[in-house]
Symmetry: C2
């Protein structure tokens, strides 16, 4: 059923909904774990109602739940609790992204579970983590993007507040949850003990902001949005061309000098104002104006041909359709097929963790319907 | 020397430079692994030259290299190669973020290392991964932000292309590298075999874009930038207030209705145009205009007090100084102290992976000077 991978043989009981938790268990499934979604009878995961829909099924839901199984259990009913407890007894990890306190109310808090299943790893992914005065407050991606500071450094200088276009609040929390679960699995292989992993989306935003935080703590300056520019490297930013935009990443002196040759402005390479990255960064306004003046004389494609040939990192600003046609996509297997009985064939993002000795399948099983795997799971638990 | 954690006892030989790789090995160190940075004699990691500087030392470098050791080795010199090979023989993992082919040129490609050290895990984090036609091209954070599509969905509609304000190209690649290393450590604990983990920054961008990718593949519509708004939930976005901006995350019907009460517009809750999230999203322009009209009548703080009391997720847009004063920061230990002999006491982001049974130290050892731990390491290798 599940693909083979470094986590083959690992069973995850997955109570997570919507995005942060499901993104984590999707990665675990991609790495070979068996993921059993435990869903609310009837409606199941809320994300089943998020568009776009294909053949009546949520493409959003399919994308992050491919390769998982589903059983519907009402954790307030004795009969279903008995099934859930049998599942836990056989599982390696239970993951949830409820509001803190929910598992305790159900009688499945960490202390209870750890006493009963000492080898079980318990991972919680919540808005603010399981401790602290804000622990029980609700949070969503949008909340932690605003509260955690990333919106304060994203956007045009002086412009409107800007959200990171993907759900980085949820997705990054899912990544750290995965890191914590994998570390706990390794730990258990050496110590024999299950651990609780407690991830807060707000904490994760702070971890992502490490550079802005140390910049502030070192200098007292509050970083603001810089548009298309890097705070400490120049030129490393968006420029206008004759027909659009491109980025140039002249990350060091060699690349910068090569770039100046390509744009036929050797004077910029020898100008003492721009001799080092530190100086270029200090005088970025002046340097940008000079570069901008040249780049608008030709279209993006012409510049990219020259820069690619010279080995200067540069790129057009790809939209999603262009990304999917990038020549690395197919050889790296980064768009895979999921064929669903209702939605048909859907193309979704692949697994970026390429690991030797295991297949990197070009298709994955679709996401389950609510309760789809009940019979099989009950049979296994009985057997 | 190293803190205890789930990776206690794991030794990482770390050839990485600048950000993506060092961010990964920082997490591994935070989780208890011993990380030995192998640096170029003299200059060491390029990031040692990235500002801001405090007491002559890079705060940027200290932040992502705290708690590591350093030995300077010239991998082209026989004597240093002998030391490096002794290190590898004792290590669990070697990590590098060179341009693909560099390790092979040094005689330390995966095939060679795996034959000699079959239990050694080899992790590579590069721009485009170790396969495919673009494999050997240079890439930086800025390149993959543009090439991988995230810039095409970040920013104001019709506005200038906008970079995500932190280095998500590097940092997310570091997170997936960490996931791969931890999975390989678990795998080795069960199979006894070392694996190669091959992470491409471009691949990682595609993984982050999973929602945009499935949206495009399901509907054929190319997602664009939406400013401060979520693509499929309304209201879930930035609004102007009397004195600034705030975000409101009315993620479901209950929250939406509660929000309408707070802003004293019960008519918006009962208006059939806005009855479900799907409808609100369809008519977001009209709904936003109605909400916006009310929110500009009071300052942010007044609205937040009302919304917090009603349990409607909302937030001001915090800058970094405000984030650091958030009441969750201290109880979650998300800003820790690193005291450096030159830079003094610096406050840096903490470890968001909270795991039971291990300390979450409020301070970490500083980043090493180049070659600082040579004597100790050589003694250990001799012993």
């Amino acid at each position: 059923m599940t693909a083979s991978g470094p986590l083959s043989g690992v069973t995850i009981v997955d109570l997570t909904r919507v995005l942060a938790g499901p993104f984590s268990t999707m990665i675990l499934a991609d790495l070979g774990a068996r993921v059993i979604k435990v869903e609310t009878p009837g409606t199941g995961d809320d994300a089943r109602e998020y568009g776009p829909f294909v053949g009546g099924k949520s493409a959003y839901f399919i994308s992050v739940n491919r390769g998982k199984e589903s059983i519907a259990l009402d954790l307030k009913k004795d009969e279903d609790r008995a099934v859930f407890e049998k599942l836990l007894a056989k599982a390696d990890v239970v993951v949830e992204n409820f509001r803190p306190g929910t598992m305790e109310k159900l009688g499945y808090g960490w202390d209870t579970l750890h006493a009963k299943y000492p080898k079980l790893i318990y991972a919680a992914c919540s808005g603010f983590g399981h401790t602290g005065p804000h622990s029980k407050r609700p949070a969503y991606d949008m909340v932690v993007q605003a509260m955690g500071g990333i919106m304060s450094i994203t956007g045009q200088p002086g412009g409107e507040p800007t959200r990171v276009g993907m759900s980085i609040g949820d997705v990054a929390a899912g990544l750290y949850t995965t890191i914590g679960i994998n570390a706990a699995l390794y730990d258990r292989a050496t110590t024999g003990e299950g651990r609780k992993v407690d991830i807060g989306m707000f904490d994760v935003q702070m971890a992502l902001m490490e550079n802005a935080i140390v910049r502030y703590s070192a200098t007292g300056e509050i970083p603001g949005p810089l548009g298309g520019r890097h705070p400490s490297i120049t030129p490393f930013q968006v420029f206008k061309t004759q027909d659009g935009h491109m980025i140039v990443a002249g990350g060091n002196d060699t690349m910068y000098r090569r770039f100046c040759e390509i744009i036929e402005r050797p004077d910029l390479a020898t100008n003492p104002l721009f001799a080092t990255n530190r100086l270029r960064n200090e005088h970025h306004d002046a340097l940008e104006a000079e570069i901008q003046g040249v780049l608008t004389t030709r279209p993006t494609a012409a510049w990219l041909e020259l820069l690619d040939a010279a080995g200067v990192p540069a790129s057009r600003i790809n939209d999603v359709s262009q990304v999917m046609q990038h020549p690395q996509v197919e050889p790296r297997n980064m768009v895979i097929d999921v064929t669903d009985p209702k939605a048909g064939s859907l193309r979704v993002a692949g697994n970026p963790v390429k690991i030797s000795g295991y297949d990197d399948p070009t298709s994955r099983p679709t996401a389950p319907d609510v309760d789809q795997d009940r019979e099989k799971i009950l049979r296994e638990l009985a057997g």
